[in-house]
């Protein structure tokens, strides 16, 4: 259970990216976060694993206060939260297998990282994750030799290496074509349904929201403007979320 209470984030320039946002996500739910670009979706997701420190408010995860965690406790929290990015954020010059193994860094002893050594079990596990997303044959290629869809699969495999209890997906399909978008979303759905991993996924397209999400929250200028089920988004709600001038297509 993830509880976000009165979360506010004001950036150094005075921009209010999140304004008193509160919501809850039960364990195992697929929650979609929607809203315009710049509405605070990315900031919200990054506050949850403290890539960005919130200005005010509290985030509780299974009773543990993420916002008050010390750097060392943060390491233990982060390693149970996988993250998938819009631009994949792979290390281009490293091999695919190294990128996947990087998901294990929260577990391995930092001293061994000097020697670039991972335990044998981790390497086997990495191969297994690559098999799961269907690109085991690419393990020894450089990450930038892969196509966009393949790179995002590596990103998912990296998140899976963390044995996550929760995955934060920041517009995971925004840089991909519709066919690839569905295949990536299917992977997330499978992880959600089969492994019971909570997924928070920010999305742009409502058809994807309808198809994959259990529940939706919507942000507009940092404020929570909608919380409910995908089917509840009617034309009026749509205009609340996306603004008066927005038109619904498809």
């Amino acid at each position: 259970m993830l509880q976000v209470k009165n979360l506010t984030k004001i950036y150094d320039g005075g921009v209010k990216a999140l304004d008193n946002v509160s919501f809850e996500v039960p364990k195992g739910q697929f929650l979609a976060v929607i809203g315009l670009s710049g509405s605070g979706k990315s900031t919200l997701l990054r506050c949850i694993n403290r890539l960005i420190d919130p200005t005010e408010g509290q985030i509780l995860w299974d009773g543990e206060d993420i916002t008050a965690a010390s750097p060392e406790e943060m390491r233990n929290i982060r390693r149970k939260i996988g993250m998938v990015f819009q631009h994949f954020n792979l290390v281009h010059r490293s091999k695919v297998i190294t990128n996947v193994l990087a998901g294990r860094l929260g577990y391995v002893n930092p001293a061994w990282s000097f020697l670039n050594r991972f335990p044998k079990e981790d390497i086997e596990k990495a191969i297994k994750q690559l098999e799961r997303v269907g690109i085991a044959d690419k393990a020894d290629q450089r990450a930038d030799e892969l196509s966009g869809g393949q790179q995002q699969r590596v990103g998912i495999a990296r998140a899976l290496m963390q044995d996550p209890n929760m995955i934060l997906a920041d517009e995971p399909v925004a840089s991909l074509d519709p066919v690839l978008a569905h295949s990536i979303m299917k992977h997330l759905e499978e992880i959600n349904k089969k492994d019971g991993v909570t997924v928070l996924c920010s999305l742009h397209f409502l058809d994807l929201v309808h198809r994959y999400a259990d529940r939706v929250i919507a942000l507009n200028q940092g404020q929570l403007v909608f919380e409910g089920y995908p089917r509840d988004i009617n034309d009026k709600k749509f205009k609340d979320i996306y603004g008066r001038d927005a038109e619904r297509v498809g």
Binding site: N89, L105, F114, N116, Q162
Partner: protein
């Protein structure tokens, strides 16, 4: 409206006019200061010497021949004797090369016609007036030369200098003929030796510079350092940890050294230790640092591990000392046997010496770093977990201690540099001021607030880098010449230091321009700072690092050619010496060597860069 426009354009014209005037003024002053003067260039004297030097430079002294020299002399009277020419002048021997002079006597300032016969064909040689009545006198006057035609004949007019004597004086023509096979001159050999020295000086300087610039570059990268913040408790405890740890480390490692040195005289013992210590170290570390742990270990397990790591590190230092002893024994033993490869033994000996000197320093650094980070962590925990009031009290104590330490050490440095000799100024005063500042800082900061330690380290590193970078390597070489004596070692040290600071700056700018995405992704997996650098930063910066290192090697080769001007070894020493001796043909050889080396370095580095980057 129109008026406004025209006035604006008039104002603009005035501005342009003023700018042109200002430019004129600046450049006029520049001409005056740099003493631009073409008059000098036009003077005949200058042109003549310029031509002469240029022609000499065009004939580098590389290849020589055995010279067969023939000296032909002919006496003449200056001025003509009062009683007419005496018949004591010998007749020239016309069987070989000979000279005729007409007239056979002349007053100073007059011109005589000198003709030569039976000389070798098409050859050039100096024609000189020899004062005194010894035809082999080394003193000679005049700077003309003659060239024979295809019949071995020449004819030249010669101006008689102002040397008067009753005895006959001489006109001397010296001709040299190259015979036998060409050979490299001594100058060419010296140039070869020195250019090799130069290239290797640059290589060592670049290697040393690269190795040290690498870690420093991370400290000077804003994007990595900006997020490093820690509470005052932790900062103060780290500050205390550094000097204490370094002192302890130095002491302990030196003790290990003292214990080791008698042992390392026995070659069997040292050989066994050198083989055994890596294994012991490896297994101890393997046991004490498990690769992956899901559960948090108990306190007693952690303490045991810490102890094992400590012992393992002591064993490692023991191994270092033994290695140094072993290499010394080996190098001394094989020096004779190696013969011309004796430099390998010298290399081993020097490496062992470097090992012996650096091991205590390394130990001090390691212990300082370890204790500082350990205490820092304790400080971090205290600041996070304890109530604010208690943290505040602790802050007062540790911050004043840390301030006193920093200022006390600075005071000691001042005392060492300026020899003030007054304890109240260089010891007690700074300590009290430092403690006061520490108290003030603890008073002003909120107990749980974090300080931008990263940015402080960043600023200090940047300042030191910029200050050192502004000192030319040539100037640094002067200092190192004093420290280690004249020679290539001093030049290597100066170039190395300059390489460290300039590469660290270039590198850190590369770190600042990496893509932030992977950094974010690796941080999100729970990796700590070190792991983030290894897995997200280093893969991104390898290509520019290689490229910059090669560029720097290039610069170092160029710099090392002139570092000899101040005694830093390399080819610059020869070049300067030959220029000062007006030996332009030799200097020309060295310039040629420099040009060839620099051009080929340029080519090689561009090829390598293309291939690997």
């Amino acid at each position: 409206m129109n008026e406004k426009k025209s006035s604006a354009s008039a104002w603009k014209s005035i501005q342009i006019g003023l700018a042109v005037l200002l430019g004129l003024f600046v450049y006029a002053y520049g001409f005056d200061v740099t003493k631009v003067n073409l008059e000098e260039l036009r003077s005949e004297r200058r042109q003549e010497s310029l031509t002469r030097v240029t022609r000499t430079l065009a004939q580098p002294d590389i290849i020589g021949y055995e010279q067969q020299q023939a000296i032909v002399t002919m006496p003449l009277y200056v001025p003509c004797p009062a009683g007419g020419l005496l018949s004591t002048l010998p007749e020239a021997d016309t069987s070989g090369a000979y000279l005729t002079i007409s007239p056979a006597c002349a007053a100073p300032g007059e011109t005589v016609q000198v003709e030569g016969f039976n000389f070798p064909n098409n050859i050039t040689g100096p024609i000189r007036f020899i004062p005194g009545n010894d035809p082999l006198n080394v003193v000679e006057l005049g700077r003309e030369s003659i060239t024979t035609d295809s019949d071995g004949h020449f004819s030249a007019s010669f101006l008689i200098p102002d040397r008067i004597s009753d005895a006959p004086q001489f006109i001397r023509v010296t001709i040299s003929e190259s015979v036998g096979k060409p050979y490299f001159t001594q100058n060419a050999k010296d140039t070869w030796d020195k250019i090799i020295e130069t290239v290797f000086m640059a290589l060592l300087a670049t290697t040393a510079g690269t190795i040290l610039a690498f870690p420093i570059s991370f400290l000077a990268a804003r994007n990595l350092m900006k997020s490093v913040r820690s509470p005052l408790t932790s900062v103060s405890l780290s500050v205390l940890g550094w000097p204490i740890g370094m002192g302890l480390g130095y002491f302990v490692v030196n003790q290990v050294g003292k214990f080791t040195i008698p042992l390392s005289e026995n070659i069997v013992v040292s050989l066994l230790s050198v083989i055994a210590t890596p294994f012991i170290f490896w297994f101890a570390i393997r046991w004490a640092l498990p690769q992956e742990e899901i559960k948090v270990p108990t306190l007693s397990v952690r303490l045991t591990r810490l102890l094992v790591i400590f012992i393992a590190i002591l064993v490692a230092f023991f191994g270092f000392f033994q290695l140094a002893g072993l290499t010394t024994s080996i190098s001394l033993g094989i020096e004779k046997a190696l013969g011309s490869l004796g430099f390998l033994a010298t290399f081993l000996f020097q490496v062992s010496d470097i090992l012996r000197i650096t091991t205590p320093a390394l130990g001090a650094l390691a212990a300082g770093g370890a204790l500082a980070s350990f205490l820092g962590r304790i400080g971090q925990r205290t600041a996070e977990k304890s109530p604010a009031a208690r943290v505040k009290t602790i802050n007062f104590i540790v911050a004043s201690l840390a301030g006193a330490t920093i200022f006390g050490l600075s005071g000691w440095l001042v005392e060492w540099l300026y020899q003030v000799g007054r304890v109240e100024y260089t010891f007690w005063g700074p300590i009290i001021v430092g403690a006061g500042l520490g108290l003030l800082l603890a008073f002003l900061t909120k107990p749980k607030a974090t300080l931008p330690t990263g940015m402080v380290v960043y600023s200090i590193t940047r300042t030191i880098l910029n200050a050192l970078r502004s000192v030319e390597a040539l100037v640094m070489a002067i200092v190192f010449v004093i420290a280690v004596g004249i020679g290539p070692f001093a030049g290597m040290m100066a170039l190395g230091l300059h390489t460290i600071v300039s590469l660290a700056k270039l590198y850190s700018e590369q770190v600042e321009s990496i893509m932030p995405g992977p950094l974010e992704a690796i941080t999100a997996t729970g990796a700590n700072r070190l792991q983030t650098i290894i897995y997200a930063v280093i893969p991104q910066i390898i290509p520019p690092y290689i490229s910059y290192t090669m560029y720097r090697w290039d610069i170092n080769v160029r710099m090392s050619t002139i570092i000899g001007f101040v005694g830093g070894g390399g080819i610059g020493f020869l070049l300067q010496q030959n220029i000062n001796l007006l030996n332009y043909r030799a200097a020309s050889t060295q310039m040629l060597a420099i040009a060839i080396v620099v051009a080929s370095m340029d080519y090689i580095s561009s090829v390598l860069r293309e291939k690997y980057v």
